[in-house]
Every structure is written in structure tokens, then in C-alpha cells.
């Protein structure tokens, strides 16, 4: 047996209460030993990682990859590489591609491109309804068999609660998890930012918090009735956090995530009509941001990237006309570490929210433990990284970091034992 030996790294894995400077040995893609040398075999390669963190690779519960259909915004290769630059090893890709990922052919195409690129591993989310139109069920079992880790309608609405109920019942029959985004389309219609004092001042149409919470209430009630396994994607309001807590208290097994942007920014960022901050779900109030941070710190919420790259033209329009979304992969790690630096987010909570919790949602055997696949990121927390346009891996021109230099750089990423970055 020949080993990769990483020495002197600070190993952090909150799920295993691990936070110590230790040696780790990897062979045949798996973690062979932590803290002690394996009894037999020889070391093939040794890596001194003093001053760096070794963490379980980040798992993104929702990103918009631009293929198939939106190659002007980037490619699966460019975006999965950008994800590696922030420590991601696995990415759940949303199905709102062109064509929509509602057939095994499209899923296969995504998987092949991701495998060929060889960066972060892509775990496709299939469309729950045909064409994401919210009316007819997609071939849900076929999609699951093709490798979809879960099914979702992304941010497209179900036609009505009848369809949502049937989607849930069918998914429950075959044990297929659903990722659901809570948004009442009639309350959100026409809105482009959080409904509040900033929207009123800017004269922009608002999306009230109740667009999320009324839809969430319906989802929770129907999930309880159907017994389906659900994950709520992209929660943005304080009230949703409270509703999820209540549902769990009543025995519903429901998990949820919030986009990183909603932990970093509030609707105040829109005050200059900067179309970069046109995102869905919208950036909400400071009270919402604080409640979301608190829920991440207590382990109630995972963090997703909601990465959505765009070409320049997509954002070069008046605020409401610009396409929604932020290119977040490059910025993810430094922005998250800024929250840690400010004391708003605990480091262990951050790692849990991007590694342990998503692994739990997806049922992946993932973490720094002997016998597990070695999917991990080596992070140099003190190293500075430049975020000038030419330094970004993402092809998206809509990064919130523009010319900044921030701390937190990924020096290596391993997926199933293979160094991919």
C-alpha cells in the first residue's frame, strides 16, 4: 500500500468533533489513518501543510451551472473549477438549463461534461415536472436512476397545490428526496427586491417575506401529509427559520439551506441600483440576515452558493430588467471567512453548514474519518487572493468581489482521493 501523507495540517471536521493538528494518510482514494502511521505500507508522497486547514470538501446544495444551453455565461468546466477554488468537492446542479434537466439524456450530458472537466464532482438535481412547467410529473424514477440525487422545480412554481401534492406522493413512493424553494408566485410577481423601506425609496417592486412563508407553510403541511423527504432550498427570512424550527419540533424531518449572499448582504446593497444585487431569493432585512446567521450557528441551516454566472450584457440593464443572480463560487470562501473574522459565524458552524449538513441531506459518506472517501480541501486561511476580473475562475462577470484582495485561499482539493485542484 502506498500512501499520500499530509502532515501538520489543522484537521477540522465538526461532525466528528475533530479540530486538531494531525497527520493524515490516504491510500486508494480513502482515508487510511488519522493521527498515526498505518501499520504497513510506504509513503509515496508527503505534503507539509503547516498553517493550513484540512476540511471535508464543501458540498453545494444548489448552483446554476450554465450547461447545457447558456454557454455565453460559462461552462461546466469553468464553473466547477471556480467551485474548487473555494473548496467545493461536490455541486448539486439545478435543472433550469436549456433544455431543462428533465430527462436522463440531459442528466447524462451534464455528468459526462463534469467528468471530462475533472474538477468538482457534479450531483445533478433533476426537474420534478416536465420542462419545470409545474404541471406534469417528469420521469422521476428514471431521473433518480440516471443519477439525480434529488428532484426539484428550482424557482419555478407548481401549477397548484394539487400538483405539488402528487409530486410529493410519487417521490415518497420511491424514496426520492425533493429540494423545494418556497415562493408564492402571485405574491412575488413583478418584484425584484425585498419589500421594505429600501424598495419603497428606490421605487422598485418588492417581494414580501410572506411570498416565502406562505408557500413554506403549504409545503410543510403537504410534506407532513405525504411523508416525503424534503429539503427547503434558499430560505431567506427570519420567519421561515422559526417555521422550520416549529416543524422539526413537531417531528417533521426537514432540512434547509440559505444562500451565502443572504448571510453577507441585505437589501441596503440595492440602494445604488446596482444590478449585481438583483438576486433570487432577494437580499432581505438586517433582522432576517441575523436570524439566518443565528440558524447557521445553531446548525439549523446549511449554506448553499446559489452561484449563477452571467455575461456582462445580462447585468447591463436597469435593476429590474437585469437577470437575477450572482457569480459566487470564487468569492464563497473569502466572504464566508469574513463572516467568521467578524465573529458573526463560528468556524465550526461554517464547516458544518457547507460539509457535514449537506452530506447528511444527500446521504453521502463524507468526512475526515478512517475508511471514508478522501474528499477534502486544504485551505490556507492567511493567504491572500486577488479578485481582479482576470483572476476569477468563473466565466461569470457578476462577482460581488471586484478587484479586492481577501484572505482565504484554497491550496488543494481532493475528490475521492484524486487531487483535482
Amino acid at each position: 500500500m502506498r500512501y499520500l501523507h499530509i502532515e501538520n495540517a489543522r484537521l477540522i471536521d465538526p461532525a466528528r468533533q475533530l479540530d486538531s493538528v494531525s497527520d493524515i494518510y490516504i491510500a486508494e482514494g480513502r482515508i487510511a489513518a488519522i493521527g498515526h502511521k498505518p501499520s504497513c505500507g510506504e509513503i509515496e508522497q508527503s505534503l507539509n501543510a503547516a498553517g493550513q486547514w484540512l476540511v471535508p470538501g464543501f458540498i453545494d446544495l444548489g448552483a446554476h451551472l450554465p450547461e447545457p444551453g447558456f454557454t455565453q455565461k460559462g461552462s461546466i468546466a469553468s464553473e466547477t473549477r471556480a467551485a474548487c477554488a473555494s473548496g467545493f468537492t461536490h455541486i448539486c446542479s439545478l435543472p433550469d438549463t436549456k433544455p431543462v434537466a428533465d430527462s436522463s439524456a440531459v442528466i447524462q450530458q451534464i455528468q459526462e461534461k463534469a467528468a471530462k472537466a475533472g474538477y468538482a464532482s457534479v450531483l445533478p438535481l433533476g426537474a420534478a415536472t416536465q420542462g419545470l412547467a409545474g404541471e406534469q410529473l417528469a420521469n422521476m424514477v428514471g431521473l433518480h436512476d440516471a443519477g439525480c440525487v434529488a428532484l426539484t422545480n428550482a424557482r419555478q412554481p407548481f401549477k397548484d397545490n394539487y400538483v405539488l401534492r402528487r409530486v410529493m406522493e410519487y417521490a415518497a413512493t420511491y424514496g426520492i428526496p425533493l429540494f423545494l424553494q418556497a415562493e408564492d408566485v402571485s405574491l412575488a410577481e413583478g418584484g425584484c427586491m425585498h419589500e421594505g423601506p429600501v424598495a419603497t425609496r428606490m421605487g422598485l417592486s418588492g417581494i414580501p417575506g410572506t411570498a416565502e412563508t406562505t408557500a413554506l407553510a403549504q409545503i410543510l403541511l403537504l410534506a407532513e401529509q405525504t411523508g416525503v423527504r424534503i429539503h427547503i432550498s434558499q430560505v431567506s427570512t427570519a420567519r421561515s427559520v422559526a417555521m422550520l424550527r416549529q416543524a422539526r419540533h413537531e417531528g417533521l424531518a426537514v432540512t434547509a439551506d440559505t444562500p451565502l449572499a443572504n448571510l453577507v448582504y441585505t437589501d441596503a446593497a440595492v440602494a445604488g441600483f446596482n444590478s449585481l444585487y438583483n438576486v433570487q431569493p432577494p437580499l432581505r432585512s438586517e433582522a432576517d440576515r441575523e436570524a439566518l446567521l443565528n440558524a447557521v450557528n445553531t446548525g439549523e441551516l446549511a449554506i448553499s452558493s446559489n452561484h449563477r454566472p452571467h455575461e456582462i450584457a445580462a447585468k447591463k440593464a436597469p435593476f429590474a430588467d437585469a437577470e437575477a443572480g450572482m457569480s459566487l463560487f470564487d468569492a464563497f470562501l473569502p466572504l464566508a471567512l469574513q463572516l467568521v473574522g467578524k465573529g458573526e459565524l463560528q468556524l465550526s458552524a461554517l464547516i458544518a453548514a457547507v460539509s457535514n449538513q449537506p452530506a447528511g441531506v444527500l446521504g453521502l459518506d463524507h468526512g475526515l474519518k478512517e475508511g471514508a472517501w478522501f474528499s477534502a480541501a486544504l485551505i490556507d486561511p492567511a493567504a491572500e487572493r486577488s479578485f481582479s476580473a482576470q483572476d476569477l475562475y468563473s466565466k461569470g462577470k457578476n462577482s460581488p468581489l471586484n478587484g479586492d484582495t481577501l484572505k482565504g485561499s484554497v491550496s488543494a482539493v481532493f475528490v475521492d482521493g484524486r487531487q483535482v485542484f
Partner: protein, 335 residues
């Protein structure tokens, strides 16, 4: 792209170079606009109405939304400043709107225009254009979405000042569809800066935007409460499509609750003036007896509109000229 609209419109030394919003403008600057407009009113009464302030300049009226009245007052104002004027009516295309706007701008830049007067259905459109076009083109906002309509607000300020002596200490009520009104937002900021004692908005909950009081006004649901002690009553136009959007039950009920009748006007101060940005819906937000009555100054507003537009066009062009001559100051401003 991260600058506040109120700052984008000023030169390094605080002079106007675009006119995008009344928000964030100083008392001195708003007063300068009103004083300059006052001086133009006297030229309007002369036989030869033209002044040469914009001679040799090209002004483009860039209206992405239909408007005859505002567009024609801008056209007259530009002509009386001796500018060449080009009117472009550009229907908003349903597809790739952003690209169309950028393409339009690039084309217009190639014509060496000096000033764009912009009306657009999107909030922030004028601000967007001010940031995208080449330097030394002045942008005058002729209404962007629900955000701002600063020249309308300033002509209303001029109307109040000329009819009530000053704005300072006055109680002003704005009545009706505040939610969709760019005029109301621009008025609220201008009134506060110019020292109004109290700015009120009156309307049903469906037509008052969330957190409107954060803009610097007091919200009322009943005319009986909101009109008490008012010096100025500004009625807003009620668009017919509000009924279809379930914001109101009917024109009749709206008129009964918020329509300005002689009876309701009697609640305000006896010397209160009645204003309306037009065009008025008689019998919907205002009854004819009031619109045509002694306290109405609605028609005066229209004639002041030309003077105010002349004032901001002249001031913004002069600010642009100054930046052109002193590019260092301009870099400072954008740093």
C-alpha cells in the same frame, strides 16, 4: 456601479451635472433651481422668449414611455434655451430590453449629443444611463418607473413657493396612489429639504407602499384626519388599471373616500392651495368644482414646468461644461 443616485448627479464641488432625483440634494441647490426658474419665468412673458444658454448644444428627448405633456415642455424648454432638439419615441421591446437600451445609447453617443432627457418605465433607468454613457453628456430624469420625477417635483415646489410665499413651515398632503407614484417620492424629499413642517400621504393601505414613513412623511388613511391644517393639497392621478390589480374596488368608492370635493377641501386651511401633476381625472380623484375653483393652481403648474426644466437643463449643462474644462475634478468625483 455602487454609487448612490444622489451623488452621481453632482460634480466634485457639489454642482448639478445630471438631474436624477431630488433625494440628497442640498437646500442651497434646490433653492438655486427655484431661483433660476423664477428668473426664467420673466423671460417667458417677453415677446422674444429665447435665451442663448444652450446654443449649439444638442438635446435628445429619449422617451421609452409615452408622454405628450412632459415631453413637449422639455422640448419647449430646450428650444427656449436655443438648443437643437431631437425627439425619439422608443417603444419598449418585450425581448432583450437591456440590450436594446444599451444599443440605443451607443447609437446616440455616436451622434455627439450633449444632453439626454430620459423617461423610462424602469426605476433607476436614468441613473443607469448616467453611469453608462460617455462623460459630458448630461442626463435629465423625466420619470423613471416609480422612483423619481424630479422636474415635476421641483415645478410643484416652485408653485408652492410662488403661491404660498415659501415651503418652510407648510403642511403638505399628497393624496391617492402613492405606491406607483414617482412624483410623490420626489416631492417628499424636496419638501423635507425645503423645510416643510409636515409632509403627509393619504390613501388606502393598498396604495401606500410599505415603510413609506421612512422617506420622511406621515401616513393617513382618512382624508378627514390627513387634510386637517393643510396648506397645500396635492392630488395624484389614479390610473384606471389599479382596479384590475385588486388594489381598489371601484372608482366610485375611491372618489367617495379620497376624491377632493369642496366639502373635504374645507377641512384644510381656508387658504390652502390645490395642486395636481395632471392629467386630471375629473370625478375620480378630484371634482370639477375644485379643479377649476379659486384654490386650484393646477394650470399655473404647467406654465412653471417650462421654467423649471429650463433651469435644470442650464444648470446641468454648466456643471458638465465645468467638468469638461477641469477633468481632474471629475476624476476626484468618481474616485
Amino acid at each position: 456601479m455602487n454609487t448612490d443616485p444622489s451623488q452621481v448627479q453632482l460634480t466634485a464641488d457639489g454642482r448639478l451635472k445630471h438631474f436624477l432625483t431630488t433625494e440628497g440634494l442640498s437646500l442651497d441647490l434646490l433653492t438655486e433651481i427655484l431661483d433660476t426658474a423664477d428668473s426664467f419665468i420673466s423671460t417667458q412673458e417677453r415677446a422674444v422668449k429665447k435665451v442663448p444658454l444652450l446654443r449649439g448644444k444638442t438635446v435628445v428627448n429619449l422617451f421609452f414611455e409615452n408622454s405628450t405633456r412632459t415631453r413637449s415642455t422639455f422640448e419647449l424648454a430646450a428650444k427656449r434655451l436655443s438648443a437643437d432638439i431631437l425627439n425619439l419615441d422608443i417603444a419598449r421591446s418585450a425581448t432583450s430590453k437591456g440590450e436594446t437600451l444599451m444599443d440605443t445609447l451607443w447609437n446616440l453617443e455616436a451622434m455627439y449629443s450633449d444632453m439626454f432627457v430620459v423617461r423610462h418605465a424602469d426605476s433607476g433607468a436614468a441613473h443607469f444611463i448616467a453611469e453608462q454613457v460617455t462623460p459630458n453628456v448630461a442626463i435629465i430624469n423625466a420619470g423613471d418607473g416609480r422612483h423619481a420625477h424630479p422636474t415635476q417635483a421641483m415645478l410643484d415646489m416652485l408653485t408652492i413657493r410662488r403661491h404660498k410665499g415659501s415651503i418652510e413651515g407648510k403642511v403638505v398632503a399628497i393624496v391617492g396612489d402613492i405606491l406607483h407614484s414617482r412624483v410623490a417620492r420626489s416631492q417628499i424629499y424636496a419638501l423635507n429639504t425645503l423645510g416643510a413642517a409636515e409632509v403627509r400621504v393619504i390613501g388606502p393601505g393598498t396604495l401606500l407602499p410599505k415603510d413609506i414613513e421612512a422617506l420622511g412623511c406621515k401616513a393617513f388613511y382618512r382624508m378627514e384626519d390627513g387634510l386637517r391644517d393643510c396648506d397645500v393639497v396635492i392630488m395624484l392621478r389614479l390610473q384606471k388599471e389599479r382596479m384590475q390589480k385588486a388594489l381598489l374596488p371601484s372608482e366610485g368608492e375611491f372618489f367617495r373616500l379620497y376624491g377632493l370635493t369642496e366639502e373635504k377641501l374645507a377641512i384644510a386651511r381656508p387658504d390652502a392651495i390645490v395642486m395636481h401633476p395632471g392629467p386630471i381625472n375629473r370625478g375620480v380623484e378630484i371634482e370639477s368644482a375644485v379643479a377649476d375653483g379659486m384654490q386650484s393652481v393646477i394650470l399655473n403648474q404647467v406654465s412653471y414646468g417650462i421654467a423649471v426644466r429650463m433651469a435644470v437643463m442650464a444648470m446641468a449643462m454648466s456643471g458638465q461644461q465645468q467638468e469638461k474644462n477641469d477633468p481632474a475634478g471629475q476624476e476626484e468625483a468618481s474616485a
